[in-house]
């Protein structure tokens, strides 16, 4: 057991397994109703490009990484973004003034801007679900590749390496 106050939750995506089906994107929409054009989780194509002597082509799933030292938290002048003790980084839309500094600070382009309401938006890791004992929508067994993992990082790493061993 980890001590209280240390990171407990993470969302980890096994990109090698992702098929690009985008079910996670729609599961997120169904749960969070982000406005049209805003994708709090977003699947995009990477490649095809040569990797060694063969062409490779993978999908990349981009969403907030809930960084250990989130630059968006530092950048926000309103303190509208906080990192909780359990590791989840939450952007509070009500406190957001729409200055956009967090978007510039984010190294992962994981923060979007809602033009209609004039606020920044990002994945809050469905904390409203997590706090009530449910999984985040994208990680709640929608993914046909079972490639979105939610939980304690070391447990996830164990699960992923078990899968890799089977495949080889």
């Amino acid at each position: 057991m980890k001590e209280r106050g240390m990171d407990r939750f993470a969302l980890i995506i096994d990109h090698e397994s992702c098929w690009g089906c985008k079910a996670c994107e729609v599961a997120c929409k169904q749960e969070n109703h982000a406005p049209e054009g805003i994708r709090l989780i977003h699947v995009s194509e990477d490649g095809p490009r040569m990797a060694g002597d063969r062409l490779n082509f993978v999908y990349r799933v981009n969403t907030c990484r809930h960084c250990d030292e989130p630059e968006c938290v530092e950048a926000c002048p309103e303190e509208a973004i906080v990192k909780r003790d359990d590791g989840i980084v939450i952007l509070d839309e009500k406190a957001c003034t729409g200055c956009g500094l967090c978007m510039d600070a984010c190294p992962h382009q994981a923060i979007a801007f809602d033009n209609d309401r004039g606020v920044a938006q990002k994945c809050n890791l469905c904390y409203h679900r997590v706090d009530r004992g449910l999984e985040p929508a994208c990680a709640d067994n929608v993914c046909l590749a079972h490639c979105i993992y939610f939980g304690q990082p070391d447990e996830i790493e164990k699960g992923m390496s078990r899968k890799r061993q089977q495949t080889q």
């Binding site: 397994s17 992702c18 098929w19 690009g20 089906c21 985008k22 079910a23 994107e25 729609v26 599961a27 929409k29 169904q30 749960e31 049209e36 054009g37 994708r39 490649g47 095809p48 490009r49 062409l55 490779n56 082509f57 993978v58 999908y59 679900r129 009530r132 004992g133 449910l134 999984e135 990680a139 709640d140 067994n141 929608v142 993914c143 046909l144 590749a145 079972h146 699960g159 899968k163 089977q166 495949t167 080889q168």
Partner: protein
């Protein structure tokens, strides 16, 4: 062990205060996935996969997740309408169901009386679990003409598998194939007919080897141990090449061939006509790669082939299907655990029985459009679409007077869309049942509001060959929408078929289930029913074919006057069959790669799905784009010898630079004029449907490979 089942139903109910959760069966595609539908105050609030369902194990695709957005869409047609202006004017008047069905019944009866039942054509698109009621209605009405996608989708697999081994061999993912050869299929995106991506994905995670046959580098191809990027349309030659390797190197299952195969020797002689150097020349795939794939497939036990529609929308349709079955067969993978199994459905009244094919009088069956030309299709009650358009436009062999399309948008989805348009424009009477006013519905006289899967009771996967049936339970009512089954049950009474139908459709479900001793109400309480799972059934009973053997040499095709052995035919338009045309149209155009969120021409108005893919996109190799002066993201004109359409250019280096890959099914519901942009980006404006270009046995329209040129729209 199922490791990934999370969904906590009780907690979900508690946290969100839902009133109820209903287990049902999604049909945003052909059906398949078990779902949980959460409701509050009678409204669907959330849809999730059902963790107890053996098909999808709780996962669900983008389409299924967006079902409620479709059901509650503000543009949905929620009451019947009749045309109140000229055809295609977009002027409609609300009418009652009684008025609509009486008017349709009246017209159909009058045409039957005056011109014969065969002048009335019913139609559906791809399989939407309404085929059994539509065939029942047509057969009892006396028309042999039901126009479906069956000539070039799934119908050929059913027809050729019945000829070869009695039924469609389904991959047994549950028992972990050690090698999977995915042939022209992207099941992780399309989740086609009897398959879902999840069990396939899991079999790969369990260590299966992977071979991909695809002109494009899909993610499946990128993950494959061997990728065979064949020249589009040369599947039959490639399969013959692999068979050649397997036979030459003695890698086939001798016991199976000796005891259970019909026609081995003539087949071997036919295969010898395709030496590997010739196959390399035809397919553009290096001989060494073909050999490597053939060896891997033949020496991995068990092994399976994941196939689909791409190989059927070609002139080689029936032979492509047969050749892949022969690969499964001679390697000993038919009806073996982890191979491809001839699954038995539960012992209910099946689709064929319900479809009342035996009640169509012989004299009417002989009038089936195209039945003499496409004889294998005719045998399976399938017709080629051009036969219908010609019967309307040329009135040969007789005039078709009325069309009734149920969940079909042929203006978008059949070859030679300009001809389809002329036929729909000319036909005397047309009724359509659909969710929205599609470009096809806009050409109708009467349009009926169809129910989505959330609004009906039905026996899900009734028509499939994987051995399961699952209850689809009605959750909501939207407007006056009715299921296709209820609608036809009602119409049947109005045209005098009442004695063969029911007071309500629940009684029909009872009748289907009766042989296994349960009613619909009993079935509704279960998650699913599976037929007995038995392997190697042929060892005791033989195969369900005329010779009781696995027919590599088809006695049925021979009897119909076709070549009993498979062969390769060059695509009707190609660098080799039409070299002069190729100089003017120097790219091979492939059509119809699958996209998340869409199902053929559907879902362009569902915002969560349209957001995934805003515009029609044509992929072009960066080298070709440079040559043509095309910039990434700009609109380009794609032109075939028949017409031109526009799609947005995207660079894609994962294919031969001589290939261009366009999307199908595109219309624009956001354009409010009645045409909804049906001919702007519709790839079937470019395709051909000439009889000579169709598969000679199945009548499959060759829409997957043609020749084109491509240029920036601004310059054109």
């Amino acid at each position: 062990m199922v490791e990934f089942v999370y969904s906590n139903v009780e907690r979900e109910m508690e946290v969100y205060g839902y009133d109820a959760v209903v287990k049902s069966h999604c049909r945003m595609c052909h059906g398949g996935c078990g779902v949980l539908v959460y409701t509050r105050n009678g409204r669907v609030e959330k849809i999730a996969g059902d963790p107890d369902c053996p098909i999808n194990h709780g996962t669900l695709c983008s389409k299924g997740l967006a079902s409620a957005q479709l059901a509650y869409h503000p543009d949905r047609l929620t009451y019947p309408v009749k045309r109140s202006g000229p055809k295609g004017s977009g002027r409609w008047e609300r009418i009652s169901w009684d008025e609509a069905l009486d008017a349709i019944a009246d017209r159909l009866l009058n045409y039957r009386e005056a011109f014969g039942a065969e002048t009335v054509v019913l139609g559906y698109g791809t399989g939407r679990e309404n085929e059994a009621v539509i065939y029942r209605f047509a057969n009892l009405f006396g028309t042999p003409n039901v126009l479906t996608a069956g000539h070039f989708c799934y119908g050929p697999r059913i027809a050729t598998s019945i000829l070869t081994c009695g039924t469609n061999p389904i991959v047994d993912y549950e028992n972990n194939p050690r090698c999977i050869m995915v042939w022209g299929n992207n099941l992780v995106i399309s989740n086609p007919d009897c398959y879902k991506g999840e069990p396939f994905s899991r079999a790969l995670d369990a260590g299966a080897k992977l071979i991909a046959v695809d002109p494009r580098l899909t993610r499946i191809a990128a993950r494959a141990d061997v990728w065979l990027p064949l020249r589009p349309g040369t599947d039959a030659a490639l399969a013959l090449g692999m068979l050649q390797v397997i036979i030459e190197e003695g890698l086939y299952d001798r016991e199976f061939v000796e005891n259970h195969v019909h026609g081995w020797e003539p087949f071997v002689r036919r295969v010898e006509e395709y030496p590997l150097d010739k196959v390399e020349e035809i397919t553009w795939v290096p001989a060494a790669k073909i050999r490597e794939a053939a060896r891997l497939f033949a020496t991995s036990k068990p092994a399976a082939i994941q196939w689909g529609v791409a190989i059927e929308q070609q002139i080689n349709c029936a032979d492509n299907d047969r050749l892949l079955m022969f690969l499964m067969g001679i390697t000993g993978n038919i009806d073996r655990p982890g191979g491809q199994v001839l699954f038995k459905p539960p012992g209910i009244r099946n689709v064929g029985h319900f479809g009342a094919h035996r009640m169509l009088p012989g004299i009417q069956r002989e009038k089936r459009l195209g039945g003499e030309r496409f004889r294998l299709a005719g045998q399976f009650a399938i017709i080629n679409p051009k036969c219908v358009w010609d019967a309307i436009l040329e009135e040969k062999p007789y005039p078709v007077k009325a069309l009734f399309f149920i969940s079909s948008n042929p203006l978008m989805t059949r070859g030679n869309a300009a001809e389809v348009y002329r036929a729909l424009k000319k036909v005397e009477f047309m009724a359509v049942a659909d969710f929205f006013m599609t470009p096809t519905a806009e050409m109708a006289d009467i349009v009926l509001p169809a129910a989505t899967w959330l609004e009906m009771d039905y026996i899900g996967d009734f028509w499939k060959r994987h051995g399961y049936i699952l209850p689809r339970r009605k959750v909501i009512q939207v407007g006056e929408c009715r299921s296709d089954h209820e609608m036809l049950n009602d119409l049947a009474h109005r045209v005098g078929q009442g004695e063969h139908w029911w007071d309500n459709f629940e009684q029909a479900l009872d009748w289907i289930l009766e042989p296994i001793g349960i009613t619909w109400q009993d079935f509704k309480k279960r998650d699913y029913i599976r037929g007995d799972v038995l392997y190697r059934k042929y060892e005791t009973r033989g195969f369900s074919t005329p010779t009781r053997k696995f027919e590599i040499y088809s006695t049925v095709l021979e009897g119909m006057g076709y070549d009993p052995l498979p062969r390769y035919r060059e695509p009707p338009e190609s660098p080799y069959s039409t070299p002069e045309l190729y100089r003017k149209f120097p790219y091979i155009l492939i059509t119809g790669r699958r996209l998340p969120g869409f199902f053929h021409s559907e879902n362009r108005q569902v915002s969560w799905l349209r957001e995934l893919h805003r515009d029609p996109v044509v992929e072009i190799h960066p080298d070709a784009a440079k040559k043509e002066g095309i910039r990434e993201g700009e609109w380009v004109i794609i032109e075939s010898p028949r017409a031109r359409v526009r799609q947005r250019a995207k660079f894609f280096a994962g294919m031969d630079p001589r290939i261009v890959s366009a999307e199908h099914g595109w219309w624009f519901p956001e354009k409010k004029d009645p045409g909804h942009g049906w001919d702007e980006s519709n790839i079937n404006m470019l395709t051909d449907n000439a009889y000579e270009a169709c598969d000679p046995a199945m009548g499959a329209t060759h829409v997957r490979t043609l020749l084109c040129r491509i240029s920036p729209e601004k310059r054109s």
